[in-house]
Structures are given as C-alpha cells and as structure tokens.
C-alpha cells in the first residue's frame, strides 16, 4: 500500500483524490499555485506545498516543481487527477525515473493510446470495431481523398494528435474534401506540431457511450459498465449517466467485453475509459481511450458501490484486484451534472468570482463533489467546473426528478458569478432527454430553439 501520495491537481478532483487517500490511511500532500492557496484541498491535505504562481504552465504543469514537492514531502506516489499532466507520458516517465509511483498506466501505454493512429491500429488488431476509415495516417491529398470516397460521405478528418473536439472537421460533400483536408493538416501542425490526420465515417447525431475498466498489475481486469455522455456542448460533456438509456443489455454487455479485450491487448493498468460512438441501431465503434480517472466517474461509483479512486490507489500500490467481474452488479440509475461557473446567457463565458453564497444540494441519494464553499474565490485562471452533482435512484425517471430537485437547491452567488445549474435543469427537463431520444446535438438544439428547454415544466 502507498504511504504518502502527492495530488498533482487542483479543484474538485484534487479533493476527490485526497478523500480517497484519507479513507485508505494514506498521507495526502496537496500542491497549489498562488491562486489556489486558500483552496479546499489545501485545507484538507496533511501537507500542502506551494509550487508556483497562478498560470498552470508554471505550477500544475510544472514537472520539476511537482517532482521536487514530492521529494520534499516524502511522497512515494503521485496522483495526477484529470487534465494537466494526467495523460502526459513524459510525466509518467519522469515520475518513474525519480522513484515515484505514477498513479495511472505505464508511460508507454499512455503514449500509444494518446496517438489516435497507433490506438486505432492496436484496437483493430484486438478486434475492437472501428468506424470505417484509415488506420494508418494518410500520406497525401490523393490518398486521403481516395480513402474518403471509399468510406462514403459524410466523413470526419481528425488530427492524429488531437482530442476533445480539437483538430477535427466534418466533410459532407466530395467537393469540399480537399479544402477541408488542407485546413485540418495545417491546423494540426499549428496546434500539435504534428500534421498527420486520418479520415473516418462521420456518424450524425450519435450517442456517446464509454466503458469503465479497472486493470491491475497482475493481469486481472474488470469492466464496471458503461456511461452515456451524449449531452455535450462543443464536445464538452455536461451530463453523464449510467446505464446508457435505451441500449439493449446485449449491446452493453458486448461493449463491456470489447473494452476489456482492448484493455488487455494494450497491457492497460489502472482505471481507464474506452469511448465509443453508438448509432441508432446499437452499432458501436471505438473512438479513444482515456488513460485517467474521468470527471464523470461518480455515476459508476453510485451504481456499482465501487470507489474508483481507491481502486486506482490500490492498483498503483501493487495490490491485485479484489473485485472479479461477478462482483460488479450495477444497481439503479445514476446521473451527474457538471455545474460550471459560466454564464449560459453570454455564450457560456467563464463567470468566476467570490462565492458570497454557496449552498450545495443535499439529502437523499445526492452526492456533491465540489471545492466550493462560502467565501471561496473561484479563480479565473483555470477551468470553470465548480461542482459535480450526482444523484441515484432505482429508475431513470426518478433519477431525473431527483436531479431537478437537487439542481434547484444550489444557491451560488457573488459579484460576477453565474453558473450553469439552471441551464442543466432545463436540459434534464427537456423532452428528448427524458425520453432518452437525444443525441450529441441536444444542447445545440436547445440553444437554437429547436428543442424547448422547459418542456417538462408542464409535463408533471
């Protein structure tokens, strides 16, 4: 078992990891930038080290400072949370070369899965279904266009080094292909210093479904069911739930098996997520692997009763998985909403500031993960996630009712502070979401008025 873990992150996830450490009897070291010196995790941790000024490049992305902080604090492991250095193979490598356990997969696995083309090749070899498209990067315009014609339009051109919606372009017509190809390669070069792209079939209005896996260092692996993350705005997830609504059990079972097969094929270790696109007929195709704990992990915890961050720490400490696949028996429905400090009326612009009032939701079957508290100043420097609200209920309808109740309980205010809580209430109240007929376009449709946002207000 690990004895002292440094949490190389901030905000709600740093607190989440610190809580898991405390429950396992592991000493917790927080690191913080000047902006975060009064943060919740700094208050919570056994020790806190000031690693740099506000900008993440000088603090949470500052590898030497983090490694030095771990050395000073006597940490034997580093948990990277999500974002920042969590999927940086160099950081995993640096941890290892400094005698620190990196809580995550081996550097080599991160590197392979972070490269979309390498990842697709590995998955193809493991019989994981891919969207029709190029497996190897395309060498030139001619080859790319031939590939697109063969797949059939619409296609999507994706930067090999991209992710999270960046460096992608959809092409619906053969005539537009070349211009889009040139633009994407040029942008990929600028953004990622790597102009390689690939082309694949584009699925209109798909569902985004992902599978959680846990793999130990001894070859044991289990999956913990799926999550539906279809509610997105500009490729940012807003609402996540499990089980995926409307998917036949046969499909979700195959999703789980497929993810496990992929995880085993790449020698995965730790907690990871296999993302799939699912079309209206339940056909699914591999998208990517997230080599980290994810923002939406609580919904899986609520239905399975398994603490994923504790599992990460146990695996990193070398323990064999104590859970077999038969021990994973998800129950009921869990939904999570991400409450961001953003102003939905100003195009979701960040709206940070001092929280003069901060009352979280509470009560039955409600979980709140937040670093917010009354008097906390939300810095404008980092991402705007302020609180994750997750609810559980025996059925999806009850979970939606509970989510609406809980969203209404949040009282967050302060000069300049706005949140997405009310907007999220409209999302979960909308008819497409309640009927589980929504696609990734739901939020777009709500914002442009195609879907009425308050649909449910009259319905109950």
């Amino acid at each position: 078992m690990l004895r002292t873990v440094l949490v190389a992150n901030r905000g709600e996830i740093a607190l989440r990891v610190a809580r898991a450490c405390r429950e396992l009897g592991i000493r917790v070291v927080a690191v913080y930038s000047t902006e975060d010196r009064d943060s919740a995790v700094v208050r919570f941790a056994d020790q806190a080290v000031h690693i740099g000024p506000g900008p993440a490049s000088a603090s949470y992305l500052n590898m030497p400072a983090i490694i030095e902080a771990a050395r000073q604090a006597g940490a034997d492991a580093i948990h990277p949370g999500y974002g920042f250095l969590s999927e940086d193979p160099d950081f995993a490598e640096v941890c290892q070369s400094n005698g620190l356990v990196f809580v995550g997969p081996p550097a080599k696995v991160i590197a392979q899965l972070g490269d979309k083309i390498a990842a697709r090749s590995l998955m193809a070899a493991a019989d994981v279904p891919l969207l029709p498209g190029s497996i190897e990067p395309l060498r030139n315009e001619t080859e790319a266009r031939a590939c697109a014609e063969e797949i059939g339009y619409p296609v999507i051109i994706k930067a090999a080094a991209g992710g999270g919606g960046r460096g992608m372009q959809i092409v619906r017509d053969s005539a537009d292909f070349l211009a889009a190809y040139r633009e994407t390669t040029a942008r990929a070069q600028t953004l990622f210093g790597d102009n390689r792209v690939y082309v694949e079939r584009y699925v209109d209005h798909p569902r985004h479904v992902e599978v959680q896996v846990l793999c130990d260092q001894h070859g044991n692996a289990v999956h913990l069911g799926e999550r539906d993350c279809t509610v997105q705005r500009r490729h940012q997830k807003l609402v996540e739930e499990t089980p995926a609504p409307g998917l036949p059990e046969e499909v979700t079972a195959r999703l789980g098996e497929t993810a496990l097969r992929g995880a085993r094929a790449v020698g995965y270790v730790g907690a990871g997520t296999f993302e799939f696109l699912v079309d209206g007929n339940g056909n699914f195709s591999f998208m990517e692997v997230n080599c980290r704990i994810q923002v939406e992990h609580p919904v899986t915890e609520l239905t399975t009763g398994i603490d994923l961050v504790q599992q990460q720490l146990r695996i990193a400490g070398g323990e064999p998985l104590a859970i077999g696949q038969a021990d994973v028996t998800p129950r009921g429905v869990a939904i999570e909403c991400r409450i961001n400090a953003e102003d939905p009326e100003r195009n979701f612009a960040p709206a940070p500031g001092t929280l003069e009032e901060f009352v979280p939701a509470g009560g039955p079957f409600v979980r709140v993960d937040t670093h917010g508290f009354t008097g906390y100043r939300v810095p404008g420097t980092y991402d705007s996630l302020l609180a994750k609200l997750a609810v559980w209920a025996p059925t999806r309808d009850e979970a939606i009712a509970r989510m609406r109740r809980a969203l209404g309980e949040f009282r967050i205010s302060g000069p300049g502070v706005r949140t997405t809580a009310d907007f999220l209430a409209q999302v979960v109240s909308s008819a497409p979401f309640r009927n589980a007929t929504h696609s990734t376009a739901l939020v777009e449709h709500m914002l442009n008025g195609t879907v009425r946002s308050g649909d449910a207000a009259n319905a109950d």
């Binding site: 009064d38 000031h50 690693i51 400072a65 490694i67 030095e68 902080a69 009354t374 008097g375």
Partner: protein, 182 residues
Amino acid sequence: MSEQPSVGLDDRFDERFERDFVGERSRELEHALDRVTRAVSEVTRCAHLPSALRVRGGDLSVEIEWHNQAPVATVTETAPALAGAPVATLPTNGGAAARTDAEHTVTAPTVGVFYRAPEPGAAPFVEVGDEVTAGQQIGIVEVMKLMVPVEADRAGRVTAVLQENNTAVEYGTPLFRIAQEG
C-alpha cells in the same frame, strides 16, 4: 488573511491636521476631512478590517468604530507557505510607514532547495549589510538538478537572510529582505 492593509494616512497627517484645522479653519478643514474620508475608504478596502480608527491632532480628533462584520474572507486560513511572511504593522506615523514601504522581500522563484553560495564551500553570494544592485544574483534554488538563480529585483542593502543554506523552500518562500536606500 492574505493581505495586510495599506492604510493611507501618511506620516505628516497629524502635522497637517494641526496646521489646517486649528489654524484658519475654512479651506484647511475641508482638506483635512477630505483626507480622513479618503483614509477611511482606503482602510475599508483592506482585507484586514480594523475595528476602530482614532486620529487626534491638536484639538481636532476623529474616531471611527466598526462593528465586527465577520467578513467571509476572514475564515480562510493562511496558507502554510505564507506563515513566515513578514507581518506589516499598521503604520500610524511616518517612521513606521517609511520602514515598511522601503523594505522589500525576495522570495523563492520555485519550489526547491535554497543555496546561499554558488557551490559547496564557496562564500555566500551576499551577507547582511551588503549592497546589491537590481538583477544581481544573491542565491540559488535547485529544482531537479536545475539551478534557478535568485536575483535582487531592486537595488538596496541586504537587511536579513531568511532561510538557512541548503533548506527546502516552496514557491514564494521569503529568502532575503532588502532595504531600499532613501
């Protein structure tokens, strides 16, 4: 409480009050009250709120009291790294204010190990009492084999060395105090 108040009562406040208010009364009084008002509004912008302010000058006196407002900000803890920061005292006369304003603290540019000398056994970059120029190297913080220089960011005289040689420091840990020559 992360910041100390910068009270805007300058050193010659009493003097001017005496002259202005006691003397000819009209224009001078306005000026004095103007200063008090400005001082009060500056004081109330401070993170650390006073509970009372009293100013006397000759036969003029001003007293202000605040009820304890328990501002929300006061509940936050001082971060560990700041614990060692020098606490400025509330300057109420010229002498004290002058000292505080002119004293400057040089802090660690990164988390790491602080060294006072360029190499083991060598003489320290600076000692208390030395004059330094802006940009002059006065120490090192080593982080992961990288030697990050500590530089005086203004000219002056070193009045204190706040950390031992070969000490683990965090970002922002106070290392030197430098007095600006007036």
